[in-house]
Amino acid sequence: MDLHDVAPVLVEGRIRIPYRWPAGRAGGRFLTLLRDEGRLIGLRCSRCRRVFVPPRTRCLSCHVPCEEEVGVGPEGEVLAWTVSRRASPPAVLALVRLDGADTALLHVLHGVEPTAVRNGLRVKAVLAETRRGHITDLDGFRPL
């Protein structure tokens, strides 16, 4: 018996496991204000003064609490972008630094041809009509 001659047998499967992920205190505050008031906020580090969006309870560099809430956006700037060519139609993903923030939010760009996107592009947040406390309550960003 030469085991190298065995024709491959493939067993198909799928793992489906439901989860419940808390957004956390900072993320929960962000999503609550986005849902109820359509506002975007960040949290500022009390030491280095950087504003994190998405907000963090603690600064990633200083490790001290970020307790000062600041409004950010709704306008911002594209820092990096790509196009998901496997999506149909192709989706434009971007890292957007909202005005008043020091870190960038990953989201989708609407109303712009992939060939027209540039880093540094000024964009504005677009809210979803119905909101449920989810990052997609922000529908995405449009060029100004």
Partner: protein, 351 residues
């Protein structure tokens, strides 16, 4: 730390799909090859460290199956769910501490069993990033775009870097032979500018100075570090913590001028933008210097967490064959270079 030497290495031929074996058999294949090449047997191996990803293997604590293949029963086996270069840190510490004299490191990746893009998506933060449809290729696209803009480069440099990797891979008998088209996947990256998803494995056997006799290849220095996770929390267009990792690795091995002192460098470049970016991070000049990714790097094959360990095996083989004295092998874990590890290998007589 006590000196740690490399007894031998083995890697599989990397491929698109190895439907003929399950992942434990793939690990068994590379371990058997390593034992055959070195003339060693399992009873001489004190301890085993493996590198694997549960999500990639589609089962929790998937290393349990690999440990059978690695002859780990009855030994103090452990695993890291990171690239094999990080498993090597664990292994070298076991010998460097004097607690063990020999250690087998085994890493594998079998991308074909699952869906690499969906698995990558599931590794991102589920609150803010995952719902955006982000995956590893799209993160590489964001990084490449940022890199080009920061350096005022045109996408032509990505084409050239990918062509150089493909030419090197053509001479590598273990390379994953693939049909990659020049079509956009994640702007500005085309399919042929992104490292393939491969099936493959790699094994490295380490031992102390009493076991490794005469002239051999030694692990003379290393460093590793991790950066913040969020894609928007670091500048993707910069080499990030790789600069620090390179500095510390050079210092730990007494390398003062890497361009002159290194003879060969192998990096895990998940895209042709990373081929350029990691070179910058390692502090090497744009041209000249050491042989750069002579195997084709990760662009020649990317078998999951074995990818970095394959870089170690490639550098070892070149030094063992007399193609220079000192080399650097790089691995990474996490997306777009969140964590980096660098090893300095040197061929020399026993200390």
């Amino acid at each position: 730390m006590r000196p740690v030497g490399i007894v031998g290495v083995a890697q599989t031929r990397h491929a698109e799909r190895r439907d003929d074996v399950n992942y434990a058999e793939l690990a068994f294949e590379v371990v058997s090859d390593l034992l055959a090449r070195t003339g060693w047997s399992h009873d001489r191996i004190d301890t085993v460290i493996t590198a694997s990803s549960d999500f990639w293997d589609g089962r929790t604590i998937s290393d349990m199956a690999v440990q059978d293949a690695a002859g780990a029963a009855g030994k103090s086996a452990s695993k890291v769910s990171m690239d094999g270069t990080f498993a090597l840190v664990y292994a070298a510490a076991r010998i460097g501490s004097g607690a063990y004299r020999t250690c087998l490191v085994v890493a594998h990746g079998k991308a074909s069993e699952g869906n690499p893009r969906l698995i990558a998506n599931a590794a991102f933060d589920p609150i803010f990033q995952r719902p955006m449809g982000i995956d590893d290729h799209l993160a590489l696209g964001l990084q490449a775009r940022r890199f080009l803009d920061r350096r005022r480069l045109t996408p032509g440099v990505l084409v050239e870097a990918a062509a150089r990797s493909a030419a090197a891979a053509a001479t590598n008998p273990n390379a994953h032979r693939r049909q990659a088209a020049h079509v956009l996947v994640a702007d500005p990256l085309h399919e042929d500018e992104i490292a393939p998803d491969s099936d493959g494995a790699c094994a490295v056997l380490l031992a102390d100075a009493e076991t490794v006799r005469g002239e051999a290849v030694w692990l003379d220095g290393f460093a590793f570090a991790t950066d913040v996770h969020g894609l928007g929390d670091r500048d993707l267009g910069e080499p990030g913590v790789l600069r620090q990792v390179a500095r510390e690795a050079y210092r730990s091995a007494g390398v003062r001028d890497p361009d002159r002192e290194l003879d060969v460098v192998e990096v895990h470049d998940a895209s042709s933008a990373q081929t350029l970016l990691w070179r910058e991070g390692l502090g090497l000049a744009d041209a000249g210097g050491p042989a750069w990714n002579p195997s084709g790097g990760a662009m020649s094959a990317q078998p999951g967490f074995a990818t970095g360990l394959v870089r170690v095996a490639e550098v070892f083989e070149r030094l063992a064959q007399g193609e220079g004295k000192t080399g650097l092998a790089h691995g990474m874990t996490g997306f777009v270079g969140q964590a980096h590890c660098a090893w300095i290998l040197r061929k020399r007589a026993r200390a």
